[in-house]
Amino acid sequence: MVCALGIEGSANKIGVGIINDGKVLANVRRTYITPPGEGFLPKETAKHHREAILALVQASLKEAQLKPSDLDVICYTKGPGMAPPLLVGAIVARTLSLLWKKPLLGVNHCIGHIEMGRLITGAQNPIVLYVSGGNTQVIAYSNKRYRIFGETIDIAVGNCLDRFARIIKLSNDPSPGYNIEQLAKQGQHYIKLPYVVKGMDVSFSGILSHIEELAEPGKRRNKRKKQQDEPEPDYSQADLCYSLQETIFAMLVEITERAMAHCESNEVLIVGGVGCNERLQEMMRIMCEERNGKLFAIDERYCIDNGLMIAHAGAEMFSAGTQMPLEDAFVTQRYRTDEVLVNWRQD
């Protein structure tokens, strides 16, 4: 029985979660929402987190109806992510650990997503598609590590979606990806976009610059043609959202299928913020059915960055005997999924 409190703040969400022996006791979160057309910057995001975090810790304890003395371990996100917001979580976690005399554990953000997904869905040994604003990875477990089979060779899928949403000035509330998903439902015409799969890797930057030109023909850097010669675009923003989703999700499903075939696996788990996109889930489900496989997906409470996943992964590490001295409780912007020794899995 491990009771863990987890703090997540690697990007624009700050969240605190409490888990006790695999049971969710609290999962509270606040999101830093920027105006349409603007992304979130490290300094401002850190400021947002600083102003929200202590109230979230209080709220989580209240929701869980626990006293600090009921906790066994304090967990925080060590990386990867933006350093200033990460540091907010780390400072509070360190202080709480010393105040309450509880051990402290730094958790890899990606591992948090994977373990949370396994806990909620009950998937045993799935191929994991981890898709978010900063990550795009196809992962399979083998020999005590989560190994990366495929990933983006440039920008993350969520970053591609977010940046496109900014170009067409969609609202960032609740998230740019959600608003693209809604607008895409009204899309009628499929517009051909570059489709870039290299082995088990994908690339999105070329697609982004291509669709950027389609969205803003006036801003074309390449002005070989005269403006008058340009035909009026016969597609809407909705068509662009629709086509973008169809193209990039097809790439993700393809590399996931490739990893399934290579690893002879028939389970897929989707985690990360982009993972709550219902069209992506639908496409993945169809692919799985074609190969008699099974899809495991989770909703936004657990898909989008949250403190609970850090608490859960930390609890797993704690029960496997992992310890971390305070001097090692720093944060790191780069922290690869396969760096972590998965000592809590027995298979």
Binding site: S10, A11, N12, P80, G81, M82, H109, C110, S132, G133, G134, N135, A140, S142, N143, R145, R147, I148, F149, G150, E151, I153, D154, A156, G158, N159, Y190, K192, Y195, V197, K198, G199, M200, D201, E246, T247, A250, V253, E254, E257, R258, M260, A261, H262, C263, G272, G273, E282, M283, M284, I286, M287, E290, R291, D305, Q333, R334, Y335, R336
Partner: protein, 227 residues
């Protein structure tokens, strides 16, 4: 004629069949319902054409690849040479490790890597980019006629293309390195032997390709990951 399904790979279904009296492998890229129909048609045609072209280019350059006997673009089927007694390099590596002592396994896998690396080098020297180098896409075919006891045959050229750019060659190597690390994590020495043999065969751009490969690798490591 009812066909026997051999396997459902990532690319499509594999059947055993016949073409003009010769037994062959039929690879059917069935319609993927998850994709937009237009995108699906485009990808399927593109991949089939790439596969036919690259196999032809390889054979012309003296690199072993399945001969394409017939391509049926409308039926999404390719009829190709079947290597019935071959196993994938992935199986071969796993069996070798399981069956022999560490020392023996290391020696025979190093030999295998030398020949894999040499072939990839020759492919790149001929500007053939495989596009999906994994140990599932390399066959080990027993052969008593040649000096070694097996032939190494590359398959699955659906993602291949013809390009002399060092970037593409670098990415090709990076894809392979990562596939090896994730599939054969217990044998971390495989890639260095492949790379050593590769360098001897990859032609005049050796240094430029290697520099590009390092750059692609660094991109992977240094990418900041947010969220």
């Amino acid at each position: 004629m009812a066909l026997e399904i051999l396997k459902q790979g990532a690319e499509g279904r594999l059947y055993l069949g016949e073409f003009k009296g010769e037994s062959c492998l039929i690879k059917e890229r069935f319609v993927k319902k998850y994709r937009h129909p237009e995108l699906d048609t485009q990808i399927t045609r593109q991949r089939m054409k790439a596969e036919v072209k690259a196999a032809g280019r390889c054979l012309a350059a003296g690199i072993l690849a399945p001969r394409i006997l017939h391509s049926d673009l409308t039926g999404h089927k390719l009829y190709m040479e079947y290597f019935g007694s071959a196993q994938t390099a992935k199986q071969y590596i796993q069996e070798t490790v399981a069956k022999s002592t560490d020392e023996q396994a290391k020696q025979s896998l190093e030999e295998l890597c030398t020949s894999i690396g040499g072939i990839i080098g020759r492919m790149h020297a001929n500007n053939i980019i495989h596009g999906d180098l994994t140990t599932s896409n390399i066959l080990i075919n027993p052969n008593s006629n040649s000096s070694s006891s097996y032939d190494v045959i590359f398959i699955d050229f659906g993602l291949s293309h013809y390009n002399q750019a060092t970037e593409d060659k670098g990415v090709d190597l990076y894809v392979l390195e990562r596939a090896l690390l994730s599939t054969h994590s217990e044998q971390p020495y495989l890639f260095e032997h492949i790379l050593a043999a590769y360098r001897k065969e990859c032609g005049k751009d050796e240094d430029a390709v290697l520099a590009k490969f390092e750059e692609v690798r660094a991109r992977g490591r240094k990418r900041t990951m947010i969220g």
